[in-house]
Amino acid sequence: MQADTLSGGFADPSIGSSHAFRAVMEAMARPGTVQEISGAVPPAPLSPAAGTVLLTLCDTETPVYLAGAADCEALRVWLAFHTGAPLVGPAECMFAVGTWDALVPLSSYPVGTSQYPDRSATLIVERPDLSATGAALTGPGIKDQAALSLPEVAAFQSNHALFPLGLDFIFTSGDCVAALPRTTKVS
């Protein structure tokens, strides 16, 4: 096993994940806000933010899909060591991680069922940068209107139209995190 594999976890998993979760929860509860998140140092090509989200939310109970360049030996081994999460394809995953181009099309992922809309995938989308500018957002969690630098607009509109079914998105870049639940109207 390489040193890379064993390192890069939370210095103190209990405290580190509590801080990281609060950042993710604030992001999901307030779409359009960009939160700082840190704690994990995953192998390339993953950002510290994406690695931290994975270590905070994933374990043996959460099938993960590594999309595109994220599906590399170093990351597979790192994720297995730190979380034990089973690796699967997009149709079976609870979490997926990768760049937008690697993750699409969204039709590949579970959107939940009418009785269990929570049984839907959460996509962790790696972005070159994140800012509260760009597409206009309205909906729960947003006082009047917010904005977020999204990779596109149409896919999120189609996803929102599925409500209460649908996917939820966590955007990561460097040590920043933002989110877009299915409830957000994007224009």
Binding site: R22, M25, L57, T62, D168
Partner: protein
């Protein structure tokens, strides 16, 4: 090694609860199933709220617990000291100083802000339970938005009492979709549920459900055009602080059956008294 895990729960359980909270925030008002754990306190003591608090607390938080508005009941004191010991958090009774507030049966009078999280202890999360005991059926009713029976039940109140008699756990509709039980808060508190700046999380331990309201979510109390919803309270000012706008408890104050009305939110009442407000029963 510490004697406890941070905030008592093991990491795997906290991850499971945290995932449920995120899905709850993404589907406001929908009850997310979770695998509730045994807690070192009985179910009636808000084990659902305790598990949600355990999953959201960080060591930097300032924690407040209220039970029917009061910080000093046995239940509130023991939950507060539980997290003081297991999570090392600071505690407070002042609503404005708290970052996480766990509550049973009230929403604080003072408006909550963006840096705050309100965690409700929920005994029965299913608003349709009294109409339909089977979980498989209520789940189907929610999925099909079959909420007609709920309106029938409220309308029966009107034909029997001349008004809607349901005064606690008054059902609400969230973002025009899910009917939700706000926990047994008085209906006086219902208008505070909507458009709140704070995050609201609901935990039911025995029933193993978590649900949530993100900030600034639309929450409407069910009603009828000819019988609109009314956030009623006892028609008195507080005897201690004189507040006209707070929810009141009626207290028996002597053997002769003397009564007084006093704010149920003790922090609100004490802060007003400290600021010089005085009710007619104040010494």
């Amino acid at each position: 090694m510490n004697a406890y895990n941070f905030a008592y729960l093991d990491e795997q359980t906290k991850r499971m609860i945290r995932r449920a909270i995120l899905k709850g925030l993404a589907i406001p008002g929908y009850q997310v199933p979770f695998a509730s754990r045994e807690m070192p306190m009985p179910y009636g003591w808000g084990t659902g709220g305790v598990q949600v608090s355990a999953a959201v607390l960080t060591p930097e938080d300032t924690f407040k617990v209220i039970d029917q508005g009061a910080d000093d009941t046995t239940n509130a004191v023991s939950i507060r000291s539980f997290f003081q010991r297991t999570a090392g958090v600071a505690t407070t009774t002042a609503t404005r100083d708290a970052t996480v507030i766990q509550t049973r049966h009230r929403i604080p009078e003072e408006a909550l802000g963006e840096g705050q999280i309100l965690v409700y202890q929920v005994p029965i999360p299913e608003p349709l339970r009294f109409l339909e005991p089977r979980e498989s059926e209520t789940r189907k009713m929610h999925s099909l938005e079959e909420y007609g029976l709920m309106h029938v039940k409220l309308y029966e109140d009107i034909s029997r009492h001349g008004h809607i008699a349901t005064s606690y756990a008054y059902p609400v509709k969230v973002e025009g979709r899910y009917v939700m039980d706000p926990s047994p808060i008085p209906k006086f508190d219902n208008p505070k549920l909507g458009d709140m700046a704070a995050i609201q999380l609901f935990g039911a331990g025995r029933e193993q459900r978590i649900y949530a309201l993100p900030p600034y979510t639309q929450v409407v109390s069910l009603d009828f055009e000819d019988h609109p919803f009314e956030a009623t309270k006892a028609d008195h000012p507080c005897g201690m602080c004189g507040a006209q706008d707070s929810y009141l408890d009626e207290l028996i104050i002597d053997d002769a059956g003397g009564r007084m009305f006093v704010c149920s939110d003790t922090d609100y009442c004490e802060a007003r008294q400290a600021a010089g407000h005085k009710g007619k029963d104040a010494a």
